[in-house]
Subunit: 555 residues, 2 copies
């Protein structure tokens, strides 16, 4: 009997929505050959990751086993699935496989890091397959909110896994392949050991709605508008972008695409043939000669991103275009939790300009790209897996999805990032806990989430920063008085004197009275000065700042 095993190890995406990175392995325990499915990013926020540019899974575990890695698979071109490819590829150095549109985007990511484009190999959809070590891999077309999304059929000597990727059940998604229930039923009939399945919308209790429900409503809205119409959606949702453009065209409006991501996506989609019949567009410059009631702008920034076109139009002019009283702005999108304040700020800015904002509260202008609860159950039923492993969700989503499967008699396990499951038996078992975490791209540097860099920034933001400098002469006697620089603190406090002066006086008192042992010892001296600065600030302004002490000795 073979001792080989089939393992599943999420490094990212299980316990959060974002930064997807799933490892599968097959072989002798500890020597499994591996594949990585997706390597995406999550986005920073001011609360927990101020100043950070991007977040992705810590792939140290995989890096240390790069010699066992056969391939990287990208299921679709959303940033949370492909966004980190360029940042980590050199540490892994294996071929990347994806379908044409996804490959086009993946190559752009690698190009920015000087990785040759041949690294990404374009694959055809299932039933064609590729072989990567012990894995036979098929890219099964599945509907989602971006073209050419794929579920991944992973065949190994230890059994067949269907990794759903992100998906919804939409038989008429506009752009990209429709959901083909027969196909998944057929795959299911071949015997699926484990379905590893998207959990994003498990809490939605009604069947998901089709992209095809939107064109009529959007066309009506644009047709009835009188001023300029501007609409935002995710640039990667090409079906939606085309629907918006066609609605503009139908209303006799010239269509303008604004925002880099918007133009880049259309380019990639046209280059790979996934997008056809896209209406003619004009440039922002040309738009300036068109009466506003004959314009339809499609722009980036549906999540309120400060530098995107939407936010810039809300603040003022963007590329010569300015919105005015009587114009309409449409959010053909939903606001991702955490982005509400930014989006609301923009809506209020538009309100100040007299622009009518139409958001998704009516449900008429947006549908989700993920399968709802009933759709997930339908997928389970089509594929009939022995085991259902929930992925792509926060803990609450994974738990709910797992329960759903258990209620329907499937074996299941809730595996969060770092939990390695052995899928070889009839039910999944946890065989190892792997240290995982997050890597922050900060400027051009990759730092660990626990390096303390971001923690220090948060502390400075909450408490302000005081730098205390003291100079000691050759005999370890203070040379002059210590001085302070403060940043992010009020200028004056309870005594109505300058905070800096109050601190400096207290610090000087301390230094004058310090015994020689303290003065000789850098650590003691720093600790003493820090303590005094914090106490002094606390009594003066009711706040204990972060303190950096610089002791300089004239030796």
């Amino acid at each position: 009997m073979s001792s080989d095993r089939l393992i599943y190890l999420p490094l990212g995406g299980a316990g959060e929505i974002g930064m997807n990175a799933y490892v599968y392995g097959y072989g002798e325990p500890g020597k499994e050959r591996l594949i990585l499915v997706d390597i995406g990013v999550a986005f920073p926020d001011m609360d927990t990751t101020p100043g950070v540019d991007l977040i992705f899974a810590d792939i140290t575990w995989l890096k240390e086993r790069a010699d066992r890695l056969e391939a990287i698979i990208i299921t679709h071109a959303h940033e949370d699935h492909v966004g980190a490819l360029g940042h980590v590829w050199k540490d892994l150095n294996v071929p990347v496989y994806a379908r044409a549109f996804t490959a086009n985007i993946a190559r752009r990511k690698l190009e920015e890091h000087g990785v040759p484009e041949e690294t990404v190999q374009t694959v055809s959809p299932w039933p064609e397959t590729i072989q990567a070590g012990p894995f036979k891999l098929g890219f099964v077309p599945i509907s989602h909110s971006i073209p050419e999304s794929s579920a991944l059929l992973i065949e190994t000597p230890g059994g067949r896994i269907l990794h759903s990727g992100d998906f919804k059940i939409d038989t008429d998604p506009g752009v990209g392949e429709p959901f083909d229930a027969d196909l998944f039923e057929t795959i299911g009939k071949s015997g699926i050991k484990a379905l590893v399945c998207d959990s994003t919308n498990v809490f939605s209790t009604y069947p998901g709605r089709s992209e095809s429900e939107l064109p009529s409503e959007i066309t009506r809205l644009v047709g009835e508008a009188t001023g300029m119409v501007v609409a935002t959606t995710f640039a990667s949702n090409l079906a939606r972008v085309r629907t918006l453009a066609r609605a503009g065209e139908a209303a006799g409006r010239s269509v303008v695409l604004l925002g880099r991501a918007m133009r880049r996506m259309i380019e990639a989609a046209e280059a790979t043939g996934v997008l056809v019949d896209f209406p003619k567009v004009i440039s922002a410059e040309e738009a300036q000669d068109v009466p506003r009631e004959h314009l339809m702008l499609i722009v980036t920034g549906s999540q309120g991103e400060r530098r995107a076109a939407t936010a810039q139009l809300a603040r003022g002019k963007y590329r010569g275009i300015e919105m005015k009283e009587g114009d309409t702005f449409l959010f053909s999108s939903k606001t991702i939790p955490g982005n509400e304040k930014g989006v609301i700020r923009i809506i209020n800015q538009f309100s100040e300009k007299g622009v009518d904002v139409v958001d998704d509260s009516s449900g008429l202008y947006h549908v989700s790209g993920h399968a709802n609860g009933p759709d997930l159950q339908r997928m389970h039923a089509l594929v009939q897996p022995q085991i259902m492993i929930p992925m792509h969700g926060e803990h609450r989503h994974l738990r709910k999805h797992s329960r759903l499967a258990a209620e329907n008699g499937m074996a299941t396990a809730l595996a969060v990032n770092g939990m390695m499951l052995d899928l070889s038996g009839n039910a999944p078992t946890v065989v190892e806990y792997v240290d995982t975490g997050r890597t922050y791209l900060d400027g051009t540097v990759q730092i660990g989430a626990l390096d303390g860099v971001v923690r220090d920034r948060i502390r400075m933001a909450l408490n302000g920063h005081v730098v205390v400098t003291a100079i000691l002469d050759e005999e370890d006697e203070p040379l002059g008085e210590p001085w302070c620089e403060v940043m992010g603190l009020p200028e004056t406090g309870s005594s109505n004197a300058a905070l800096v002066e109050v601190l400096e006086e207290d610090l000087n008192q301390f230094l004058m009275r310090a015994d020689p042992r303290t003065l000789r010892n850098d650590d003691k001296l720093e600790e003493g000065l820090r303590r005094i600065a914090r106490q002094s600030a606390q009594s003066e302004i009711g706040k204990k700042p972060e303190v950096t002490v610089v002791v300089s000795r004239m030796r």
Copy 2:
């Protein structure tokens, strides 16, 4: 003919939800006698106000006219209406009027600042009135999500204003007076010049639901639960707190109140007689001897506040109580925009513990305290004002509410903070723009929003902080090399040397080559060192930090 005029000036609350502060004036232009209606707070967030404790309206304008101020009126005891009273009262120094329950809370606020409790005068509801200068004021009971909320009937020689306060139309609110349509109709018939009206829920298109719809559903939920039940809501929503407690009692559970605000509110409500028949409660200590399936906890922290009971229970034990698999946690509340991430974090923490979380997505366990669109129109119709001024809302709410009034033939104006309206004529006119803004309570210090303190904190959080120190001797020659302290920045960058060393080397190069004029001039020297530090960091780590330069001269 009298030249006296009747003015309205929002200092806070018009253009935002929170920090309400509305001024009314009557008299000769520029010499009007004034009243202030409400003085509340808004809550800080990491995005825009890191480290700040509370936010309230900048009352400089009022302070400079304190001799013309007759009274402060508090319409109800929510923090966004009374929370800043203690912080600003000494600058205004006038009597405070409120109904009994509100007065109880207001006195506690003043007591913390050593202001005598007689400052707050308890008033009886309309038709009783008080006189404050030219204003005859009546506190008209109106339903909201806290007891004894009042609309304010402001009678002046220039006409009658009805200031709605926060309200909903609820004829069975459980605790507090029911909405009395006849009363408002009667008041309307006496002739209302201007209705100044709550706009919070203007976008909700269905009539508001009554608090009385909740007890049966909540009782059913608690009755069916098997483990411990913990529920959170706003402590000030005493009807809800009582409903939750009664549901616990009905299920044979002992009721425990956790969180300071929860106990304080019950105390104030019982002391002033607005809350009767509240079930017997036991302490957290006593709860430890009660089997978990016989416990019902009602706790603070529905908005995910990190230090409140809910967040602490999600993280671990709180006052000896720990939630476990099979327990139920109920959010009998809605999440205020901006708080989503914190609340979701808590739900996931509960999920990890195996606790079943019930939120408001079903609509069964929470109703709003504000009038919806149709209710606002009903209020307009009851009161039949000549002018409708929207307040208590962001710009988008005020705009929508104003439109609603205009469509129904009322005169209206959209006045945001700082816009002074003259209400003397048939339609409102803007007569002045007053400088307004926000005051931050930061530790124990009040700082202006534009003082730069918080801006510097945000910059440090986004960019990190470098402190450069250089010492120059009596001849303005560098004494040793300059040195750096960095906080919130990666330790190493592209050259793989310590960032600090790279910076120090570049700074030293600069200093060595600097001409005597630069070395003699503090400003030039600082500017040069800052520029070098930023350039050097940019090339090393791809980020331009905040830089503080300290030049010290041995003179």
